[in-house]
Amino acid sequence: MLELKQLYQGFREPETIARLAEQIKQQAELVKQRDPAEKINIMEVCGGHTHTIMKYGLNQLLPDNIEFIHGPGCPVCIMPKERIDHAITLASQPDIILVTLGDMIRVPGSKGSLAQCRANGHDVRPIYDPLDTLQIAKDNPDKKVVFFAIGFETSTPMTVVLLEQAEKLAITNLYFHINHVLVPPAISAVMADPAVRVNAFIGPSHVSVIQGSEIYRFAVDNYNTPVVVSGFEPVDVMESILRITTQRAKGEAELDNQYTRAVTPEGNTKAQELVNTYLCVREDFRWRGLGPIPESALRLRDEYQHRDAEIKFADILQHEPIEDHKACQCGDILRGLCKPKDCKVFARGCTPDSPMGSCMVSSEGACNAYYRYSGVTENA
């Protein structure tokens, strides 16, 4: 049996972290000696890494020619308002129970959030495990249960397992609103911006547990950037930064896998097959802050249309794009063009209590992480 402490033990040793910080400094110094103006701008694609960096104050341990740019890899942050409005519209129907994961219920659409919808008396249920939705559907045969599915490659298999179970058990009142998005097209979209400053990536390891490390090969080949697939513990992240910095010092750009304890080049092929059985790639999907990105998300295959909430409830769902508040700079933050503190409404009009933008809502969001943790170093 897995002991809970195995999840973190050994990956937070202060001496190891200090030693890695020293080695990073040495490699960064080599870069500086070559070109004092050269910066190592590392995009951590995933909000989980942003969280680790800010929560453990890792950025405070690094030399000034290394900068983090927080990427679009938070499923809550990148959800456009019209999709959240779909969830709210569905949840507002008297015969629908809307089920979704975690803090998705706090994100504001154009008509408030799912949490507000719940407070108005509608049936919105945050769950920990998508399979809990099965029981909800069984317990409520007179209701329609909609699973508002979100997340990157990591969480997609869980949605598909739920779907498979629903099919096997012939549960007829369970529908899916699929918002699963893909990391590689988002990386391409970020790099396509002429103003891009990113020149290295920390790749989310949990995505690669499913899809394999090779899915980032294109970023190395197309943009000549180092990519290191990294775990989420402080030692993981520091080791990955060292590997990136070492590559930059040598003038190399390679695909590297730091998280060999769970990631293989090809990934979990069984999970991939399962996903491909039920889902296929959408033509395009609009990302908050990044706009429409071709082939960047998934939808139900045609043979499972009977479970597709977007088809079943098509007559009540609007697809018009809804732009963010003009003052909100989540889009620029997700593309790495500015930092949370550059945004005019950061910590003023936009706080975790009353978020204007999605990056402030999610605990994985860059603005939320900055708001919660940063600002100490100047005087501490």
Binding site: L4, G57, Q60, L101, S363, R372, Y373, G375
Partner: protein, 338 residues
């Protein structure tokens, strides 16, 4: 919690003021809370109170009602008694009101009431008055309990506004147990764990500090919002900064593991038998020894200090030399998505 045998479940008639209600009160409540003031059955309890008195009230709703290390009844007594103890008041008299859902199993009610009686014995407080209401099925989640309490203040001046730069911060035991236990029970996690809630009466520990004349500046039990909420409240109320050393925070391995799984922080999770003390640094070791002499206090630790910098803010220093804020927990605890 619900029983199918009408004889063994609470009926609406148990709240009707008649024979059934009378029987429930006498056979269960009076028997468990037996004392002269209660059994005199006057309209109000006649009390002898002298000098400065602390008075507090709290309502208890928890799901599940029974959890590892306690139940709603134990919580209702410990919670109110602890609120008095944190004001250095010896808990003396409690009121106790039950709102019970029709159909609630009498056996479960008995277990709850008996655990209340046994928790009362730990501080010597008495339930001297109460009320019982039974509401139709569906109008309450099993049982709600309200307790109010009064106690004589033994030492004045302990206050959230009295914290001073140079004070040491002590936590009385490992943090986050109650929140983590409830979370595990509520979500039916299949993780194997022996985690129990810290739910307990704090008066014996507080009494030993008072008896030793430890000059405590502030005390607070870290309930909902956990250590993070207490320290932020203190930093604001006393306009000071508080620095906490992460390496000194006592946290059980199970709680750490659960926090990893869900993306929570142990210092945001609720406690029901853990208190925080601010006191002059020179008395910290003595206070620590006194707390550690109690079974519930053996993991107590000095975790930080009060500073003149960063007024109103709580800062966590990591073991590798970086620092960050400990903010107030926000909204309902929801797990991270990825």
């Amino acid at each position: 919690m619900m029983s199918n045998n009408p004889k063994k479940q609470v009926q609406l008639s148990h709240g009707g003021g008649g024979k059934e209600m009378n029987a429930l009160i006498h056979k269960l409540f009076f028997k468990a809370f037996d004392n002269e003031i209660l059994s005199s059955e006057e309209d109000a309890a006649a009390l002898n109170l002298n000098g400065p008195t602390a008075f507090t009230t709290d309502s208890f709703t928890v799901a599940p009602l029974f959890f590892s290390g306690g139940n709603i009844g134990k919580l209702a007594v410990a919670g109110t008694v602890n609120d008095l103890a944190m004001m250095a008041a010896k808990p003396e008299y409690l009121s106790c009101s039950f709102i019970i859902e029709e159909g609630f199993a009498i056996d479960d009610l008995k277990t709850i009431v008996e655990s209340m009686a046994s928790e009362l014995a730990k501080s010597g407080a008495k339930v001297v008055c109460g009320d019982t209401k039974v509401v139709p099925r569906g109008c309450a989640d099993g049982i709600f309990i309200n307790t109010s309490g009064v106690g004589e203040i033994q030492k004045q001046g302990i206050s959230v506004k009295n914290i001073q730069p140079g004070d040491a911060i002590i936590v009385s035991r490992d943090i986050g147990r109650h929140g983590a236990t409830i979370l595990m029970a509520r979500e039916g996690l299949t993780l194997d764990s022996e985690l129990t809630s810290d739910c307990a009466t704090l008066w014996p520990m507080v009494e030993s500090l008072l008896n030793a004349d430890i000059p405590v500046h502030a005390m607070r039990d870290a309930t909902r919002g956990g250590l993070a909420a207490v320290l932020n409240e203190w930093a604001n109320a006393s306009d000071v900064g508080i620095t906490v050393q992460e390496s000194q925070l006592p946290i059980a391995d199970e709680v750490k593991g659960l926090c990893e799984l869900y993306g929570f922080e142990a210092f945001d999770l609720a406690n029901e038998g853990t208190f925080i003390i601010a006191l002059p640094k020179e008395h910290a070791e003595q206070a620590l020894n006194l707390i550690q002499a109690h079974e519930d206090g053996k993991n107590a630790a000095i975790v930080g200090e009060v500073t003149e910098a960063h007024n109103g803010k709580v800062i966590l220093k990591t073991p590798w030399g970086s620092s960050r804020y400990i903010d107030l927990p926000q909204g309902e605890l929801l797990p991270r998505i990825c």
